[in-house]
Subunit: 401 residues, 2 copies
């Protein structure tokens, strides 16, 4: 049999993160690669009790459900969103198999081959994959720690007439960036003026450290949901548990209805058991206290990682100062290619994600993403010791200038 795969196949290159996840499964590698929450803080007992209550209902948890998702869970999420300044009803919302599916479904119903999508520099690698597979042209906008550069945004909008902008404005993946209020408003104004749809991806927004102020979502800054130029997505993956595979997406009813029809063709609906379990959790479990607890623990781990990095004192290595989220973003001396470094690091028993995957164009090959939420503090020290062992010779070999 001579297989004749689709021409778009090349876009589905497996993500480095996932391939490394596979390599490291069951081995004694310390992984700073995946964006994995810490298992030890999963609310296992609360989930068990929630499932118990769901299964008391019995049969209804096992039958086909609505494509839009379990209505009581949509209502609970609406109640939570209202406390964050986002006023939506269940009809403005679709439940998805994680926010990854929200990105995919919106791309299916909104983007055609050749359409331009603007993204941050750097941006979430699996969003790049979805956009590429659809045949979109992806253009990076110059970005700093406060968000996209509004001047460059204006230039790119004028030059490329984009159909969509994809942003991750709170504790971004991978750069840990928090967009300032000014940049949020600036993006919104520019997009509204030019009929550019904003996909606001917010999986990390609740994982804030210390007294960090939570910025209003871009969705909440726009008229919404009717006629909004923002589609907002988030997920339970980081605040409860990823395996429950439940995200949500909210926006204008026409957008949501079209996405629901695409979902119907894609998989009919997501797991009812997961959705009902999350509904029980939202009703009977103190979600805010739990999020507070994991945020405190994640901040501790981040501080441990930063402290060890400071002790290592690698010349020419810089990193961000996360106020929340799951990642440190490192910039190394220009002559170090982190993809080459990774091969050596895995041999030494430590993994990370090379920065190259997070750029839609002109990659900065001397960057890397370190996750600080999954490994415990002792593992963080040991992992960085291992990284040190492979990095030191490369740093010593720096070209003299």
């Amino acid at each position: 049999m001579n297989y004749r795969f689709s021409k778009t196949l090349g876009a589905f290159s497996s993500s480095a993160v996932r391939e490394i996840l596979k390599l490291t499964q069951g081995k004694s590698i310390i992984s700073f690669a995946g964006g994995l929450p810490a298992e030890e803080f999963f609310p296992v007992e609360a989930v068990k009790e929630a499932i118990g209550r769901v299964m008391e209902g019995g049969k209804s948890a096992l039958q086909y459900g609505l494509t839009e998702g379990y209505t009581p869970l949509r209502q609970s999420i609406c109640n939570r969103m209202a406390t964050k300044g986002m006023k939506v009803t269940p009809d403005d919302m679709l439940l998805t198999t994680g926010s990854q599916q929200s990105i995919d479904l919106l791309t299916r119903v909104y983007i055609d081959e050749g359409d331009v999508i603007l993204v941050e520099r750097p941006t979430y690698l699996a969003a790049i994959q979805v956009f590429q597979a659809r045949g979109a042209k992806i253009v990076s906008v110059r970005s700093d720690r406060h968000g996209m550069d509004l001047e460059d945004l204006a230039v790119q909008i004028k030059q490329h007439r984009p159909k969509m902008v994809y942003v991750n404005p709170s504790f971004s993946n991978p750069a840990g960036r928090v967009w300032s209020l000014e940049r949020r408003k600036g993006l919104l104004a520019a997009c509204r003026q030019n009929d550019v749809l904003i996909l606001e991806d917010d999986p990390y927004g609740e994982l804030k450290f210390g007294t960090t102020e939570i910025m209003p979502s871009i969705f909440s800054l726009d008229q919404h949901p009717e006629g909004s130029c923002v589609v907002y997505t988030s997920t339970f993956s980081k605040i409860v548990a990823p395996a429950l595979r439940t995200g949500w997406v909210m926006g204008d009813r026409a957008v949501i209805r079209n996405m629901a029809q695409a979902k119907q063709a894609a998989d009919l609906h997501s797991s009812t058991l997961d959705q009902m379990t999350l509904h029980q959790l939202m009703e009977q479990f103190d979600m805010d206290a739990h999020i507070g607890l994991i945020s405190v623990e994640y901040e501790k781990r981040m501080r441990t990682m930063v402290q060890v990095l400071q002790e290592k004192n690698w010349p020419g290595v810089h990193w961000n100062d996360p106020q929340g989220g799951m990642f440190l973003w490192l910039e190394l001396p220009a002559h170090i290619d982190t993809q080459v470094l990774l091969a050596a690091a895995v041999q030494q028993g430590v993994a990370f994600v090379p920065g190259v995957s997070f750029f839609a164009d002109e990659p900065e090959r001397n960057t890397m993403r370190l996750n600080y939420t999954h490994a415990g503090e002792a593992e963080i020290r040991l992992g960085l010791d291992r990284l040190d062992a492979v990095l030191q010779p490369l740093l010593a070999a720096a070209p003299r200038v």
Copy 2:
């Protein structure tokens, strides 16, 4: 905001089945529309116990998992497939959010706009939707109760040079057709000779009545899995419970690997809780006995429905004689449009799916699909009485010939 949706959006017209499902939710309508299993036979206690065992493991059920799916479940399915003459390993298999997602993922990695896909007459409506959304050209092959007409198949292959054939060879949706061994082998030979990929969709194959012989799958008739021109998909939706949203797809490793990469972009992976629960069920629950039990019950309901239809003795109305599966396929007199009939029927408190949705081209508007697995025997009688009330006037108005 002026939304600019994708040009392919029209393809995602909501399926009639799902829209009717929504209309009928919580109302006293008797629905023969959806392909719903009977809730009263869901193995609720066994599922509860399985979940209990999963949750004893605790944390591991809640973390991110492999895109390919939970390996022990893949292994259990391989063991089951081996008893049906299909010898595959977990590496030849991907777990999906139901077999609907298998259809979608294969279409994404194998089909480009303008490619031709051959289908049966009639065929599964939600497969048509997926193919249309991808911009494929869908061509029907003349079909009878034994499968596709091999002569017409040869003509269509020569004329259209199709890339793929989609078939539902055992107790098909909607026509309840079982392909003969000769047709299975004929399709395989023609496709192998012309490098046409076969997507064999087999959600109902195990739901056989009485002493009906189970036909070998087309996949098992081919060399497999390496180099097979067949990709085979099935699901737990009909034999355990749909809400657990777990299907599987098997084929050549290159095909499966590409589909896994597409799945990574689509939703990272399916629910781990559902997959682990099904693994526990497969290990500790007598699946064959359960399938035997529901098949007996479904046959009883089918016979009740057929008996009532015989009593009604509607002139010019014919139906198939199901040997398994979930559907009766009715042909009415040519002047009756079942879409018009449905509107009246829903007013009367009964629903079905008009046949038009199951044709890729040249629809036979005087056909309808009746599900006999969801409603109990008393409901079947009452539902057909209601249908009788709206159908009789139309039958009486038949044009004299």
